[in-house]
């Protein structure tokens, strides 16, 4: 489910919903594209898809395509949306961190050296929004399509171009800084406790063999020294 290849009807679904009635589509559901085709009377799948709190519809489509590209379905895990990675982005950007908690944002703002670190006058959420706007303009100008409609090779080229700073975003957002945040959030979404929306069913942890909060290892560190050991992971919700 939730395939976001160039055939993906998600964006069309969102646009349709918006056209049908503003009220009906004000809070599109994550993964709604996949369920939209099903009859309205079908039994609700479990777990119920969670709604977006902060991302706009165009941003939802971008993030869904991004996380499915960065985490494609394979024998290790389902794809990024099925791990809830898109929800992690939504919650993190809309939450304290995204809104600038613990980030000194007094001016004046000047472009510093790389060694001086982050110097933009934007919260992570503002950087995400402006960067994604810049990227949408870039994709429209270059491919005449939004990112979520690009084939995988073009998506890869765009992400590499952002990472290396080779793509210039017309609105002035430093592409590499924007991308570094997207990538850092990807790792966080994969490996943060599932309580934050990503890493669904601890599948990110299972992929690498991290036990989560299962952590009494006084005996294990000797007993399993250099031996295979893959305990069933536990998250915060399991122990609360």
């Amino acid at each position: 489910m939730s395939d976001t290849s160039d055939q993906q009807p998600r964006r069309d679904f969102l646009l349709r919903s918006l056209a049908v009635g503003a009220g009906a589509a004000r809070l599109p559901l994550a993964g709604a594209a996949a369920t939209a085709a099903a009859p309205a009377t079908a039994a609700a799948p479990a777990p119920a898809p969670a709604g977006y709190l902060w991302l706009r519809p165009d941003e939802q489509a971008f993030v869904e395509a991004l996380v499915n590209h960065m985490c494609p379905a394979d024998p290790l895990t389902p794809n990024g949306m099925d791990l809830g990675l898109n929800l992690f982005y939504d919650r993190a950007l809309g939450g304290n961190w995204g809104q600038g908690d613990r980030l000194y944002l007094q001016g004046p703002f000047k472009k510093g050296s790389a060694n001086q670190g982050y110097q933009l006058g934007m919260t992570p959420a503002q950087l995400f929004r402006a960067g994604t706007e810049g990227l949408a303009a870039y994709c429209a100008a270059t491919y005449q399509k939004p990112f979520d409609r690009l084939p995988a090779e073009a998506r890869e080229a765009v992400l590499k171009g952002l990472q290396g700073g080779k793509i210039e975003l017309a609105n002035g957002v430093p592409a590499a800084t924007y991308f570094a945040q997207l990538l850092q959030m990807f790792y966080e979404a994969m490996f943060a406790d599932p309580i934050y929306g990503g890493n669904r069913d601890k599948q990110g942890w299972k992929m690498v063999g991290y036990p989560g909060v299962n952590t009494a290892n006084k005996v294990n560190i000797v007993k399993f020294s250099n031996k295979p050991y893959r305990p069933e992971p536990a998250g915060i919700a399991d122990l609360s």
Partner: protein, 588 residues
């Protein structure tokens, strides 16, 4: 302004040194007020499972200072415009009762005369010309012999697990053969190495080096310290560095000296008390107390005291001295002025090793686990001349928790996302180990602290400005450490090796070390230092400074050992000599 009654001592900051002095002074019957800018500590702070949240605690750094309250501005060279350290990265300061001791790794070393007599040692062995003209190193004016009993006391109070390498001159197998003579064994046996430490130790030994278990404040066995504080046994839970310990297995001020001080009727701990200024009388030579803001009510308060002691994190001690206008600011052009001089940090290097056929279980860890060697730092027989540097580095494994947001190593060349990344992350998570080095940084004329002309903190006060970069000496240390690491790594014959490379310039972005030293350095006379060896400010007799801002240079060792030992030594002389006859403890 609210004015309190005068007390014998006011302590600025409630971490290790505030706790140590608070306990010692109040047990001696002195009236003490300790002002802590952060909040109180309760055992519930570290309740599980919520403490084991890598995103909130390890990544968003919920236990650290909030840069929106106060931060520093940074630049590599004085020709640049300093810009704010907007988001924590390179160094992580703690806050609240216990300070950094709540989240520290616990690595505790006994710095010795190699460091305390650094200029004399190098001049004697290598000649005066060996020391670069712009390297402002100097002897500290304190000796290992003076500090030995205080190191011993702190190791017992904070619960250090390790093996002695030298007791009263007799070398002990299994410990650090390069350490200075100790009066006795550590209070607890060392932690286990873990598989990475086992591999490193075996290979380093084969190569002729002398690995041992890193000394650390993680209780390897259930332990009761001399004050009756019970430590739980470390469970190698992997949530230690940057985290608080719910089992009290990691020694910290909040569970040892501060509760002990709080049992004394004459000790008062006031939290949410942000000191903004040390006040002095009209002569400027006597401190009268401190002004602080109650951050809950916003009220400004004055706490008068006969004795004022700055016990905050080193950088904050320097900042407070500057905001109080005490002492002449250092000028890098003329070399005059002492306040802000000799700011130092640390360098190092690191390699990642990947093995098809090993299992490291990186999450079975503490913040102090691992094998380490002192062959290129504490070992004075190591001839620096071929490398041309002053100082050195320690080299060991640093597998501190395997929390996967920050630990998902992949061999060089693997993409950072996508199917190939997933396969590599899945394969190597459990099959990787690191070898890291921590290197000394010598003071340089161009590295210093002063006040920023532009940026301000939440109280409208100027931020402190840090001008710092690595110079040739540090680049040589880093290059040498990378060479040593790569030699050991090659001998381990990994499937893939991400080699160690030398650091060239200091970046504020990736985490490196919270060992920021200097700025209010100690020394032998008022011409070369802000304080004497007891931390007593030459120009203001009843003002003392504790912490690593006293260090005239930085070593490869972690700073807490001498920070605590100097605090205990100062406590002794203040209790036993100063209070009977207030005034200069050293005439120079």
């Amino acid at each position: 302004m609210k004015r309190f009654n005068e007390v014998d001592v006011v302590l600025v900051g409630g971490g290790w040194t505030g706790g140590i002095l608070g306990k010692e002074f109040s047990e001696a019957g002195m009236t003490v007020v300790c002002l802590e800018r952060g909040g109180p500590h309760t055992p519930d702070d570290y309740s599980v499972p919520r403490m084991r949240d890598e995103l909130a605690v390890g990544q968003r750094m919920s236990m650290m200072v909030n840069t929106t309250d106060n931060t520093e501005t940074l630049r590599n060279k004085s020709t640049e415009t300093a810009l704010p350290y907007r988001r924590l990265g390179s160094y992580l300061m703690g806050t609240g009762v216990g300070g950094a001791s709540t989240h520290w790794n616990g690595h505790t070393w006994r710095w010795n005369d190699n460091d305390f007599k650094i200029r004399s040692n190098y001049e004697t062995r290598y000649g005066k010309k060996y020391i670069p003209e712009d390297m402002t190193i100097q002897d500290w004016g304190v000796t290992y012999a003076e500090l030995e009993k205080y190191y011993d006391k702190f190791e017992k109070v904070s619960g250090i697990a390790a093996k002695a390498g030298n007791i009263k001159g007799k070398k002990i197998a299994g410990g650090n053969p390069f350490e200075a003579p100790r009066s006795g064994e550590y209070p607890m046996p060392p932690l286990v190495y873990g598989h990475a430490g086992d591999l490193f130790a075996a290979t380093a030994t084969k190569l002729g080096y002398h690995p041992f278990a890193r000394p650390t404040a993680n209780a390897s066995v259930p332990y009761t310290n001399p004050d009756g504080v019970k430590f739980g046994e470390c469970q190698y839970c992997g949530h230690c560095e940057r985290f608080g310990c719910e089992a009290n297995a990691k020694g910290g001020a909040q569970m040892t000296v501060i509760p002990a001080a709080l049992r004394q009727k004459t000790f008062e701990l006031r939290t949410y008390a942000w000191v903004t200024r040390v006040e002095r009388d009209a002569s400027g030579k006597k401190a009268t107390g401190v002004t602080y803001t109650n951050t809950v009510t916003g009220e400004e308060c004055f706490q008068p005291a006969k004795l004022v002691v700055l016990c905050a994190f080193g950088l904050n001690n320097v900042h407070l001295m500057m905001l109080s206008g005490i002492g002449e600011m250092y000028d890098p052009v003329s070399g005059k002025g002492l306040l802000g001089k000799n700011y130092c940090y640390q360098t190092g290097s690191a390699a990642m090793l990947f093995f098809d056929d090993h299992h490291f279980h990186p999450y079975m860890a503490t913040a102090g686990i691992g094998a380490i060697m002192d062959d290129f730092h504490g070992n004075w027989d190591f001839d620096r001349a071929p490398y041309g540097f002053v100082g050195g580095s320690t080299v060991g494994t640093a597998m501190y928790g395997g929390r996967p947001i920050q630990w998902h190593p992949t061999p060089a060349g693997v993409p950072a996302w996508g199917a190939e990344w997933k396969q590599a992350a899945a394969k190597w998570y459990d099959r990787s180990m690191n070898i890291t080095a921590t290197g000394a940084v010598m003071p340089n004329r161009g590295n210093y602290l002063d006040l920023d002309p532009t940026y301000r903190n939440r109280f409208g006060a100027p931020l402190m400005r840090m001008t710092f970069d690595y110079y040739d000496n540090e680049r040589k240390i880093s290059a040498h450490s990378a060479e040593v690491i790569n030699r050991i790594a090659a001998a381990l014959n990994p499937t893939h090796l991400n080699k160690a490379v030398a650091r060239q310039s200091w970046s504020s972005v990736p985490y490196q070390s919270t060992h920021n030293t200097g700025g209010t350095i100690m020394g032998t006379n008022p011409g070369n230092s802000v304080t004497n060896k007891y931390g007593q400010v030459w120009a203001v007799d009843n003002l003392f400074i504790m912490g690593a801002s006293l260090f005239p240079h930085n070593s490869a060792y972690n700073p807490t050992g001498p920070v605590a030992a100097i605090a205990y030594m100062a406590a002794d002389i203040i209790k036993n000599v100063y209070v009977k006859n207030p005034g200069k403890l050293i005439h120079a």
